[in-house]
Point group: C2
């Protein structure tokens, strides 16, 4: 379609910058993947929205599948850098990691979502850089004397990651101002820290609550 009709806007003199072109493609790709999932991603649409020719996209990424893979890899690295730092001094205090995670996810909700879909569908999750770091963090914390006894680390990890990633999606942080986004991240971090410090129930109101799960 866009191939047969002459471009209405004259072909923008795209400064040659393969790195930027690649990033532009990856960014649009991530955005679309977050919206409709990896299976629905089309190279045509990515190229169109990124303002590059479809041929260019195929030049950088040979096939659709490779574009999907490159996008998820790229996102995972971005996320690791943003949450744990660039390798210099790792930021490991649990409350700091939580805050970083919340802020990153609010700023880039599509990245979080892409990462979530990626990790859920990966055969071997230890292949993922971010997950390895996060898991190490959690295990270390749970084993430390700063944590309560009997925490289920895996449930804990899944709970924190899934809610941190989906909270901004729920709040539609994409269409918010920077100030609103800041407040969203803070709301999340605040409530999570409150929960982690105090819990939810007033224990005295649940004297009979056996710890075994209930369901009808």
């Amino acid at each position: 379609m866009a191939e047969t009709t002459p471009p209405l806007t004259r072909p923008r003199k795209r400064r040659r910058d393969p790195e930027r072109t690649r990033e532009a493609i990856l960014e649009v790709s991530a955005k679309l993947m977050a919206k409709d999932g990896p299976e629905a991603l089309s190279v045509s649409q990515v190229a169109q929205l990124a303002g590059v020719n479809r041929g260019t996209a195929y030049h950088h990424f040979q096939t659709r599948e490779q574009l999907v893979k490159a996008t998820t890899d790229w996102v995972s690295e971005k996320m690791t850098a943003a949450v744990f730092g660039d390798g210099e001094q790792p930021r490991n205090r649990p409350e700091v990691v939580l805050g970083n995670l919340a802020h990153f996810c609010v700023e880039y909700p599509e990245f979080g979502r892409v990462w979530l879909v990626r990790i859920l569908s990966m055969e071997d999750r230890n292949q993922d850089h971010f997950w390895r770091q996060f898991k190490t963090q959690v295990d270390r914390f749970v084993a430390s004397d700063a944590a309560h006894e009997g925490i289920d680390a895996e449930v804990h990890a899944v709970r924190v990651l899934s809610s941190a990633i989906l909270w901004p999606v729920w709040m539609r942080s994409r269409s918010a101002t920077p100030e609103e986004r800041e407040e969203m991240a803070n709301r999340f971090t605040r409530e999570m820290m409150r929960l982690h410090l105090d819990g939810l129930f007033r224990k005295e109101k649940y004297p009979d609550l056996e710890m075994m799960p209930t369901h009808v």
Copy 2:
């Protein structure tokens, strides 16, 4: 393809049962939507996997879009019934709702996932039956004297729902035995209840922890 080649397996004598046919289609549709998202759903594939003719699928659901809508509506109703009961006596104790939710999501992880995608992309979330019920539940609990002060109800709701739905996906409950699934649901409920009762941190180890969110 399957339309031009004669079927190798003889056409199964499909007992006429429009209700079951409809449900069979919806079930497959939900499964596929959970895997690849609504945008990637194809009527052809659904019909094939459901073992019905493509024409039949179009007979029950006029267009692809309508199939998507019907599927999400159907899932939302199923979920409401499973978690809150069929309208008779509503099951409202928070720990029971949590247990029901965990068990439902572990048994039918695809339904939870479909519902999650649906609710996240809905303009007006109050249109959704399950969400209305759940929100009412949460608001009532947070306002009660059984709950701590200062709980952020919205963060709480998103946290519980997102983790309950994604926990079975993470654990790949689909490929587990009934016993394993039971244990998965119990693990989740147990840790959540533990968290809700005690929190995560030993407070005495964090005397300096200001409540304001931290990030670097």
